[in-house]
């Protein structure tokens, strides 16, 4: 298995700052903004965005957490049910501009599940999507509004994001399941 680093701590920092600016540029209704992080790493990215926005405009944006387990569409294929985390949204999402935040956008199924979970809480005015990395290979008609980095990948590769809040390091890597030496 081969590992290739594709992003370091500084890059992540710059991307977060940029996306924070983009969010403010795109949405004039500051008081309607809300951030929702997708468990696990989306939560930390959302909270970094919240801090950045506070630094830029000195406004407090509410932040929530979604756990998508109960809306996964592959539960039927699993033999052990995954652990269910808590969804914590302590504000009314109705008429808010909600920005869902996740680390990697891939098939789009996680985002679909997050949209469904969010739906149980009310009817936002708009929902937007912010991701650190878009690696392609969409299986659903979903597109991110804010992308940190577009990263062409092949299906047998894995993209892994590391954040200090839950990992020992900060950055992102591509793990190639079939290293070149295995390709015949």
């Amino acid at each position: 298995m081969k590992t290739r680093n594709i992003m370091n701590e500084d890059e992540i920092k710059r991307i977060i700052t940029r996306i924070a600016h983009e969010i403010l540029e795109k949405n004039e209704e500051r008081n309607q903004l809300a951030l929702i992080g997708v468990r696990t790493r989306g939560v930390f990215l959302a909270s970094r965005l919240q801090k950045n926005i506070k630094e830029i405009e000195n406004i407090d944006i509410p932040i929530g957490i979604v756990d998508i387990t109960l809306h996964r569409d592959d539960l039927d294929q699993l033999s052990v049910m995954p652990i269910v985390g808590k969804t914590e949204i302590n504000f009314d999402v109705t008429d808010k501009i909600v920005i869902i935040v996740d680390d990697v956008l891939f098939s789009g199924r996680t985002v679909r599940a997050a949209l469904d979970e969010l739906n149980d809480f009310g009817r936002p005015k708009k929902i937007q999507l912010a991701v650190l990395i878009d690696r392609g290979h969409r299986e659903l008609p979903i597109k991110a509004d804010y992308v940190g980095k577009n990263l062409p990948t092949s299906m047998d590769e894995k993209v892994k994001v590391y954040l200090k809040e839950c990992d020992e390091k900060e950055g992102a890597s591509i793990l190639c399941m079939n290293g070149p030496e295995n390709i015949s």
Partner: protein, 313 residues
């Protein structure tokens, strides 16, 4: 959290501490769902759950029924009166017939101890024991433990007293197993005729004195006095029982300040507990009912991971 790999939930005795904690933690996530505007999750869509109740039960069957609906399962309720059991059909035949309808889970209440274990051996469906005779009532104990955890945070060194007809109580047995595994100290209290032989070997202390039992207890769980069982031999009269074992205002001063009062319901007001205690500050009796829903959702969710062949066409 620990992975859940069991096909059935038959007893608390067979669960490990980790498995109990997994259920309790999963229940925490599910408790929030009931607070949302839309109290429904699609997670068990396509699963069929049968509630097979051979004993009347309003609260347990309602709780399971609602839990299954909140998780979008299809649910069939078979109370004893309308089932063919009264036509003399054997339990195994009844379930074989249900199984032919491709069900996933049977939630079962039965007056005979061990009936769910027997069924688990003879069927492909997952079995959830919703109370079997005087043996166990796992989900009741789990919701009791969940309520204690929500109020007390942890179980280590917690002193828990169970008062009443321990001999005939499946709630007591499940609670004794579960609480001891989680590190609590359990005391049982009741007249000697209602304390089963060698119950100490299950890891509990025994006392016949209510004051002694509640002094220093963090939680007092009062069992329903079961008039319907052959109680004539066990205590002379309800009046005498209440005089010696009723949790009323006079007991208040023997209790710890922050001690909780629990009851699995339905309550005999004025017998095992006075109204003022049942409705008072310490009482978490209604909280138990609310938590029952979350715990049963968690159990249905965890059990549904089992891909049993009963569903296959």
């Amino acid at each position: 959290m620990h992975e859940w790999t069991r096909k059935h939930l038959l007893s608390i005795e067979e669960l490990s501490k980790e498995e109990i904690l997994t259920i309790l933690e999963t229940a925490e996530s599910f408790k929030d769902i009931s607070l949302r505007p839309i109290k429904k999750s699609p997670v068990l869509r396509g699963k069929t759950i049968v509630l097979l109740f051979y004993e009347p039960s309003t609260r347990t069957s309602t709780s399971f029924s609602l839990a299954a609906k909140r998780l979008s399962a299809d649910i069939v309720n078979i109370p004893v009166k309308s089932s063919s059991v009264q036509k003399g059909e054997s339990l195994i035949d009844t379930v074989a017939n249900l199984e032919a309808l491709k069900i996933h889970t049977v939630v079962m209440r039965h007056s005979r101890a061990g009936a769910p274990m027997m069924l688990a051996k003879h069927t492909n469906a997952s079995i959830i024991n919703a109370g079997d005779g005087c043996h166990e009532h796992p989900t009741q104990a789990l919701l009791d433990m969940f309520t204690i955890k929500q109020n007390k945070g942890s179980f280590d060194g917690l002193k828990i007293t169970i008062v009443g007809d321990i001999l005939h109580s499946r709630v007591a047995r499940s609670n004794i197993w579960g609480l001891s595994k989680l590190g609590a100290e359990v005391t049982v209290c009741g007249p000697p005729t209602m304390i089963p032989v060698e119950v100490e070997k299950m890891g509990v202390k025994v006392t016949y004195d209510l004051k002694e039992a509640i002094a220093g207890a963090d939680v007092v769980n009062l069992l329903r006095v079961q008039f319907e069982r052959e109680s004539g031999m066990l205590f002379p009269s309800v009046r005498e029982y209440a005089a010696m074992f009723s949790m009323d205002d006079t007991m208040e001063r023997f209790m710890k300040k922050d001690a909780l009062i629990m009851h699995p319901g339905p309550i005999n007001r004025g017998v095992e507990i006075s109204s003022s205690m049942a409705d008072g500050k310490r009482s978490v009796i209604l909280e138990q009912v609310t938590n029952g829903l979350a715990v049963r959702m968690a159990v249905l969710y965890l059990i549904s991971g089992e891909k049993n062949n009963s569903e296959e066409a």
